[in-house]
Every structure is written in C-alpha cells, then in structure tokens.
Symmetry: C2
Subunit: 213 residues, 2 copies
C-alpha cells in the first residue's frame, strides 16, 4: 500500500531503489523545475518502472517534497559544520564565513539550486515553508555570528547586524546564481575564482570604497 508515512526530516533510511529514485529526481527537479520533469523521465533515468516510483512515493508532489527535504537538511547540515567554526579570533570569523559559505553553496549545486528554485516558484505551499524555515535558521545563525564579532569590537556598533548578514549571504548567493553567466561579462576577473571573490568582498565590506589607497 502507501509507503511508510515519512515523519523523517531527511531522505535517509530509504532502501536502495527508493534512494536512487530520490537522488535522480533531485537532479532532474533541480535542472528543470517541478513542471519541467515528468515521472516517465525520472523512471527512465533511474532505471525503474514508473509504477515503482508511485510504490515508494505517494505522488509526484510527494517525491518532489522528499527531494526538497533532502536538499534542505543536506544544505543546513553542511553549513552548520563548516561555517560556524568559532575557533579563530574574531577578526577572521567574518572572512572565514564568507569563503566557507560560498564553498558550501558551490559544493552542493543541486541542493542549492533546488532550494533557490523553490523560493522562486513557491506558491505558498508546503515546500516554500520548508525552504523558508531552512533559510530563516541559517540566516539567524549568521546574524548571531555577526553580533558576536560586533560585541568583541571588530565591527562598528552602528552596523545593523542583520543587514550585514543579509548582504553577505546575498553576495554569495548572487555569485552562485550567476557563476555561469559571469564568464560572458566584460571585465570580471573573479569569474571562476570563488576564493578571490570572497577575499575581495570581505575587503570591500570591511573597509568600504571611500577614501584613497
């Protein structure tokens, strides 16, 4: 009958075939969006029958939500491990966050793209709430990071912590979104070099563009 009702946040503990389906679906949904992929396509790509997909997932939307869920927990998990490292002295924590956050985005292009797409399409459904929740949690952690560093005096007290957090995330997401496009733009030398980009963004955000040097 209907598959086990999934109270799981992630897409783990599914057996072989189901995981395979989930992964293939994630790739295709990330590439072409929900409406741009058919169950037949997923079935062919995954090497299983169409009916088998409906055996493991109750509907196309269910499969999509499962893939989105997996992407979300994957993205949130890796971010948690990498970006919040607080070992360094405060002045380097912002720099470290910028580069490692961008690295995380680039290491999981599929998950990032799926979430990004959901935030764009999201018609106030389950999926959007999920993506929003992930985004909100991530954003809160980053804001806290900024406030920490701010309390230690390395960031002006007049700066709005949430604005700085917003700008940093935005700079990275915008880089991710347009990484293919940038190659066609004139005069950009940080196109394929996220490290150089992160460093330059940090430098600009830290000291501003006014004054002479």
């Amino acid at each position: 009958m209907a598959q086990i009702n999934p109270p799981l946040t992630s897409g783990e503990n599914r057996s072989g075939a189901a995981q395979n389906i989930l992964e293939v679906a994630g790739q295709l949904f990330a590439r072409s969006g929900y409406d741009g992929v058919s169950i037949n396509e997923i079935a062919n790509e995954a090497g299983v029958s169409k009916a088998n997909i409906f055996h493991h997932f109750k509907s196309k939307k269910g499969l999509y939500l499962a893939a989105l869920n997996k992407a979300c927990s994957l993205s949130a998990g890796v971010l948690e491990d990498n970006a919040v490292e607080s070992s360094d002295d405060s002045s380097d924590r912002v720099r470290h966050f910028l580069s490692s956050h961008l690295e995380v985005l680039l290491q999981q292009p599929l998950a990032t793209r799926l979430i990004q797409r959901e935030l764009l399409d999201g018609a106030e459904g389950n999926g959007k709430e999920l993506a929003e929740k992930v985004f909100a949690e991530t954003f809160e952690k980053i804001t806290d990071l900024v406030r920490d560093v701010q309390a230690q005096g390395a960031i002006k007290s007049s700066i709005d912590a949430s604005l700085l957090a917003f700008l940093m995330v935005g700079a990275n997401v915008f880089f991710f979104e347009n990484r293919d496009l940038m190659a066609h733009l004139p005069g950009i030398d940080f196109a394929g070099a996220p490290d150089r980009y992160s460093e330059a963004v940090f430098e600009l955000l830290a000291h501003g563009f006014e004054g002479q040097s």
Copy 2:
C-alpha cells in the same frame, strides 16, 4: 497564414488582441514558469480561443520568447532612463544608482521575475542569450559609472570596479528575490522599506564595517 516574421526587438506594434495575449502570457510565465503554464490557461485568462493564440504566435516557445523579449527591452529601457543620470556630483551618483536601480526592479516585478527565471532555467537556448545580453549591457553601464566616480577620486583606486558593480546589483537583486521572504526573517527592519535598505547598503559599502562609531 503564419504571422508576420518579427524582426522587432520589442513586443510593440501588435494589434489589440495580440498585445493582450502577450501581456497575459508574460504575467503567467513570470508567475509559474514556461512549463507551469499551458496554452489553454493563457487563452482562458486572455479571453480568446486557443487557436487564436497560434494565429498570432507560431508556437508556445515563440509566445514565450516574445514575452521575454518585451520584458527585456522594457527593463533595459527604464534602467537606461533612470539609473545613469549623471547630473549629481560624483559622490552621490553611487547612492543614487543603488536606490533607483532597486526602484526599477520593484516597479517591474513581472519583467524582472521573467528575466530572473530565464537566467535560472536557461538551457543554452535563444532566451538565455537574450537575457544574458540584457544583463551584460546593464552591467557594463554600471561598471562604467563606478569607474567614472573612481576617476574623480570618490572611490579608492584599489577597488575593482566590476566587483563593486557586481555587489551593488547583487544586493538589489537579492533584495528583490527575497522581499516576500524577508518578512518572516527575524530581526530585519528594512523588510518593506527599499529606501532604507538602499541607504544602509550604501553606508556599509562606502565606509565598511570595521572601526568604531
């Protein structure tokens, strides 16, 4: 027979019904994406028969490209008028660009969203090249603006003009993308206030977050 081969860049000079179809299609494509809208839906929403759509446009893709084209020329045109105003003294030109560019994005949410979607979906087709071209032209003008101000000494010579331009556009696009989501985020006070956001971004970009105040 087949409609007039359109050597036009914009969607103008189409007569009543065709323009209506084009506008409705633009709205729906912006809302749900190419695959998320059917010809039937467009026909119903526009109050015309499905066949009539194919009378004015040679295919669904043709209709989509026409809508995208219209959005592109619209977006590029308004930007040209508003953002490049060079009357002010150099120190205010960056500030003025930031706010007016964001204003343009917000004033044309449909066009902006359509282009944004095409840049995300774009499978190396005609549409993506179109959107890339618009983006490239816009970006080049902004970079030139930055270089101008830089030549007048109001921006450090050590700053990469294209990076600053990239960051400014990114800050605005990111704001546009997430303007609905921001209301749900904790601690953001510039959610519904693009003017305040623009000012804060300028302040941060100009002076940086380091030091005390």
